[in-house]
């Protein structure tokens, strides 16, 4: 589904050059559940941002569904994102001024889907993640676990084939963390490709492949036995 070839990301300020990713080569197939691990500052989130096209690589090629998208414009990348990729963040990144339902609906607004159909889809995913009874609440009125469920719903409401989760359980207690991981596994079982950054080996065990990063490089890869 996606292939990174010698991908690098270097951050430059006036005096300092920081290599966040250094010649990374990764291939992820359709339907995989991949966990990315490593110590803080090793480049996990940078890698996820590049995969999600939220950031641009400094060097290397990025193939998405066999298309080389490294040179794509911001507008082209936005189109790919909205059709194929869903995001889940550690801090949920819900828009505080919108209700639960409106936050989820936001992902569909940019698809030009009619209002009635949007409502149907939103209701469906809210049921799926068990948040329907909180549809009209604002994010600030929800617990962390509930907020992350909303984020999951928002990530999947557009039927995206790829979910990128950046430490989705990082701000949750173990119970809620486990709930979220179960949701991801269910999605993966249904065919959604998931790439997840995590610090937790227990949560990494939900994945069928784990990539370890260190100082911006892939150091090991391990595949979980079926």
């Amino acid at each position: 589904m996606l292939k990174l070839h010698n991908l690098s990301r270097i951050y430059r300020t006036d005096d300092v050059e920081t290599v966040a990713l250094n010649n990374v080569n990764i291939e992820i197939g359709q339907g995989e559940f991949v966990a990315i691990m490593g110590p803080s500052g090793c480049g996990k989130s940078t890698l996820l941002n590049l995969i999600g096209m939220l950031d641009s690589p400094s060097d290397g090629q990025y193939y998405f569904n066999d298309e080389q998208i490294s040179g794509y414009s911001e507008k082209q990348l936005a189109v790919i994102r909205k059709h194929h990729i869903g995001f889940i963040f550690q801090n949920f990144n819900l828009i505080e001024e919108l209700t639960v339902a409106e936050n989820i609906e936001l992902a569909l607004l940019y698809h030009n889907i009619p209002a009635s159909e949007r409502k149907e889809k939103v209701d469906e995913v809210m049921d799926m993640v068990g948040i329907a009874h909180r549809a009209k609440h604002m994010p600030s009125q929800l617990s962390g676990g509930q907020q992350q469920r909303v984020a999951v719903a928002r990530a999947v409401v557009g039927n995206q084939g790829l979910i990128l989760a950046d430490e989705p359980t990082g701000n949750l207690d173990s119970t809620h963390g486990h709930e979220v991981m179960e949701m991801l596994r269910t999605l993966n079982d249904k065919g959604t490709t998931i790439v997840m950054v995590t610090h937790s080996p227990a949560h990494a065990d939900f994945a069928n492949r784990t990539i370890n990063l260190f100082d911006g490089k892939v150091v090991t890869e391990s595949v979980r036995a079926a």
Binding site: L98, L109, Y110
Partner: protein, 837 residues
């Protein structure tokens, strides 16, 4: 999608209550100022455009220049000009008309009312196509003294408008009070016109032929209008008139005979200008040609309109800067939202559209508030301006369109920077940075905009202070006479009863004196004539012929006004021969009379002292030719507003021109005094309306326009400061919020409240100080230029302390604005601040 934008915008407005209030209130105040000024400007610029063919109608103004004398300029022209030019330039001129205004008395049952009658040529309605209610242009103006009145006049005298055939008794269209038939009724004229027409009478051509003041090429007593032919430009007609003046008119011969040789290379049109002005320009631009002889209705001022339009734009700029500053300052609070929208597939243009929509929505909320505010303050505004401005929001399409365009432009103008700024970041940048894209560039830009805001506010306040100071100065300058406790009574209608009236008035114990004159101060007319010094050695080789302004005064005039001679004597019955004599002169003989000159006239003749002038004789063609002996010299007094300065003046005693009485009184019960004076008037001058005014009120009225300007400037400058301070408060609140952690750390390190307040106050003092450096030179330059137009003006050195005081005041205001919030934050427990972050 749009609904989503609106929901987000609305919830953001609610969530950020204080910032929203500051944004909306600032913008509403700015828009209110702008709308108020716009209403004023729209009315001022709309004058006379409603008249049919207004673009083809022009008026001819006159300006005479004689070397060594101040220019004589007026919006009137000489009586013979219209026909001569109309006939000569028949290819360019379709029709011409003269208007001669004079005060008349109209009988109404047992009383008489003062009215203004306008004598016009029969061609009037060919130039001014005014709509008739009864009668018509063809049937109503066929013979001399046919009278056409407006609906208001018809209702005033007859209680109805269908009055064609009714008789009005008018004094004095003809030689005696005469019955005049009403031949037509026209619609009332709208307020937006310079024409003051209530009663129009068809002028008898014989009146013009037999009247020396009208049958003339040089005495300017009529208003002359031409309607140009279709396709003729004002420049073409102007050139034609100039050619006629130089080559065909009798003006050159008259000039050579009465004034002297032209300067080498000069043409008569250089000395006697006849300038055309488009009808639509008259209201705003006629003043520039008017000299001291302007229109009867209050005219506008083009420069004032330009100035207030600029002020409106500046206030709006200040309000827009608030909007931009507060929007970009709140970037960090919107960064996550923008990031998520982009993560979910929003393109940059969609983010831009979202933020522009928000800005425009906010502007229109402010616009609604502004319109409510305008409705609330409009009565007060009208009272201050003496206008009847209306906000015809539901009927005036052009107003609605203007407001919509203004709203959209402000929304786009103020919203474009925040929109572009927020949308340009990559989502990852926004998600990664806790500052949400806050950069030193944005911060510097905000500081720069605050500098612009405060520079504008300071400049506005400095200009207001200088205009206020100059207006006060002009009104406080010693005018050279005592103006207190004086009533001015027009005695023209008293005719032969004038002396009896005086006698009876003096019987009132409250009246100290009654003195006559041709004019009283503030009533100055441009009465000019050439006076030639004929005897004695010619002083210092100066030109003995001087164009002097002349006033006629009765005995005791100067005594009543507290003016003492600086040489010679005042007019006195003890000397018998002071008065101009018309009786008992042989044909061709010059009369003899005495005159008094003012100091400026003495200087013009080149006398080294006032005493040197005493006993000298002046030759003039006035009053059928007179030799006038200078018997006294008085100090310069301001017969007219100080803004016009003092002219060289001669005071003579022509009994035929003593039209006004000055009544000095000694009571504080002025209403009772006025009743008594009116009673005396009714007894001695029956069937004539009384015209009685207080001199000090007439003097104040001279500065009415300046006082209105000062009021407007003060009000709008204050608003500008309020808006700028609102913005500064918002920005300071934002900055302290953003620096909470830093403040916490500083407090942990030992900083006290004073240190923290000083830190924040200093941050905002810098832009205000910088604003002073920009505003001072700009406002000093502008005000020095403005002051140059006044003969007597405040010392320009005053500008420096004014600038300093205004700058300091604004700095203090900024400190108060920022300090309150800073102190509040500085008092907070540092641990809370650190924990929160």
């Amino acid at each position: 999608m749009f609904k989503n934008y609106l929901i987000t915008a609305w919830r953001n407005i609610i969530k950020n209550g204080m910032f929203s209030v500051i944004n909306i209130a600032g913008l509403a105040l700015g828009l209110m100022s702008c709308i108020l000024i716009m209403l004023f400007v729209r009315e001022e610029t709309g004058f006379d455009k409603w008249l049919p063919d207004s673009e083809r109608i022009v008026r001819m103004h006159s300006a005479y220049y004689v070397s060594g004398n101040p220019p004589f300029e007026t919006v009137r022209s000489a009586g013979n000009m219209m026909e001569a030019i109309r006939d000569y330039a028949s290819n360019e001129v379709e029709e011409g008309v003269r208007l001669i205004h004079f005060g008349a008395t109209v009988r109404k049952q047992e009383s008489a009312l003062a009215e203004q009658i306008t004598l016009v040529d029969g061609s009037f309605f060919n130039v001014f196509d005014l709509p008739f209610v009864h009668g018509s242009a063809q049937t109503s103006f066929t013979k001399p003294y046919d009278l056409i009145i407006t609906e208001d006049i018809a209702i005033k005298y007859f209680g109805k408008t269908d009055v064609v055939g009714e008789i009005m008794t008018v004094c004095c269209v003809g030689p005696e009070p005469s019955p005049v038939p009403v031949t037509g009724v026209i619609k009332n004229l709208p307020d937006e016109t310079h024409l003051e027409l209530g009663m129009l009478a068809y002028v008898d051509p014989k009146i013009i032929e037999n009247n020396a003041g009208l049958n003339t090429w040089t005495s300017v007593n009529v208003y002359t209008y031409f309607k140009m032919r279709v396709g003729t430009s004002i420049q073409q007609l102007q050139e034609r008139i100039t050619y006629w003046v130089n080559n065909e008119s009798p003006l050159l011969d008259m000039y050579l005979k009465n004034v002297g040789e032209l300067a080498p290379g000069a043409q008569i049109s250089d000395n006697m200008k006849h300038k055309l002005m488009q009808l639509e320009d008259l209201h705003l631009k006629a003043k520039q040609d008017a000299g001291n002889m302007g229109d009867l209705t209050p005219m506008g001022d083009h420069n004032l309109i330009v100035t207030f339009t600029i002020v409106a734009c500046l206030i709006l700029l200040i309000a827009c800067i608030n909007f931009m500053n507060l929007s970009t300052a709140r970037v960090s609070h919107r960064a996550r939202e923008v990031a998520m929208r982009k993560v979910l597939g929003a393109s940059r243009s969609q983010v831009v559209v979202q933020f522009l929509s928000e800005a425009i929505a906010l502007v229109f909320i402010s616009m609604i508030l502004a319109l409510i505010l305008v409705e609330l303050v409009l009565p007060l505004y009208n009272l201050a301006l003496g206008r009847q401005l209306e906000l015809a929001l539901f009927t005036d399409l052009s107003l609605i369109a203007s407001l919509l365009v203004i709203g959209l432009l402000i929304g786009l103008g103020a919203g474009i920077y925040p929109a572009m700024f927020l949308s340009r970041f990559l989502p990852a940048d926004l998600l990664r940075s806790s500052k949400g894209g806050e950069s030193s560039t944005a911060s510097n830009l905000r500081t720069g905009l605050v500098v612009v805001q405060f520079a504008t506010s300071i400049a506005l306040v400095v200009c207001t202070a200088v205009i206020y100071g100059q207006t006060l100065y002009a009104q406080s300058v010693d005018v050279g006479y005592v103006s207190d406790d004086k009533l001015v009574l027009n005695v023209r209608a008293a005719g032969d009863n004038r002396d009896r009236l005086k006698h009876e008035l003096l019987k009132l114990p409250e009246i100290n004196s009654v003195v006559f004159s041709s004019e009283v101060p503030t009533q100055d007319n441009e009465n000019n004539n050439t006076f030639t010094l004929i005897d004695g050695e010619h002083v210092n080789g100066e030109n003995p012929s001087v164009l002097l302004n002349y006033h006629d005064i009765g005995y005791d005039f100067f005594e009543a006004y507290g003016v003492k001679p600086i040489a010679g004597r005042l007019f006195s019955l003890d000397f018998g021969s002071d008065m101009i004599q018309f009786e008992g002169r042989k044909e061709g003989d010059k009369g003899r009379a005495n005159v008094i000159l003012n100091q400026t006239a003495i200087d013009k003749y080149g006398f080294t002292s006032a005493q040197q002038a005493i006993g000298k004789t002046l030759d003039t063609n006035m009053a059928n030719g007179h030799l006038m002996t200078i018997v006294g010299v008085v100090p310069d007094i301001y017969f007219r507003s100080i803004k016009f300065g003092v002219r060289a003046t001669v005071y003579s005693m022509n009994p035929n021109r003593l039209r006004v009485a000055s009544l000095s009184f000694n009571t504080s019960n002025v209403s009772q005094l006025m009743e008594k004076v009116e009673q005396v008037w009714k007894t001695n001058v029956p069937m004539q309306p009384i015209n009685l005014q207080f001199l000090d009120q007439m003097m104040k009225a001279q500065y009415a326009e300046e006082n209105i300007q000062v009021k407007m400037f003060s009000a709008f400058s204050m608003l500008a400061i309020v808006i700028a301070c609102l913005g500064l408060y918002g920005l300071a609140a934002y900055t302290t919020e953003r620096r909470t952690r830093e403040i916490g750390i500083r407090k942990v390190m030992g900083a006290n409240i004073k240190d923290i307040v000083a830190l924040l106050v200093w941050q905002f003092s810098k832009p205000v100080l910088m604003a002073n450096l920009i505003a001072w030179p700009v406002s000093v330059y502008l005000m020095l230029t403005w002051l140059e137009s006044f003969s007597y003006r405040i010392n320009s050195l005053w500008l420096l302390p004014v600038c300093f005081t205004v700058g300091l005041a604004l700095l203090l205001l900024a400190w108060i604005t920022v300090g309150g919030n800073a102190a509040h934050v500085a008092k907070a427990n540092p641990i809370k601040a650190l924990r929160r972050d």
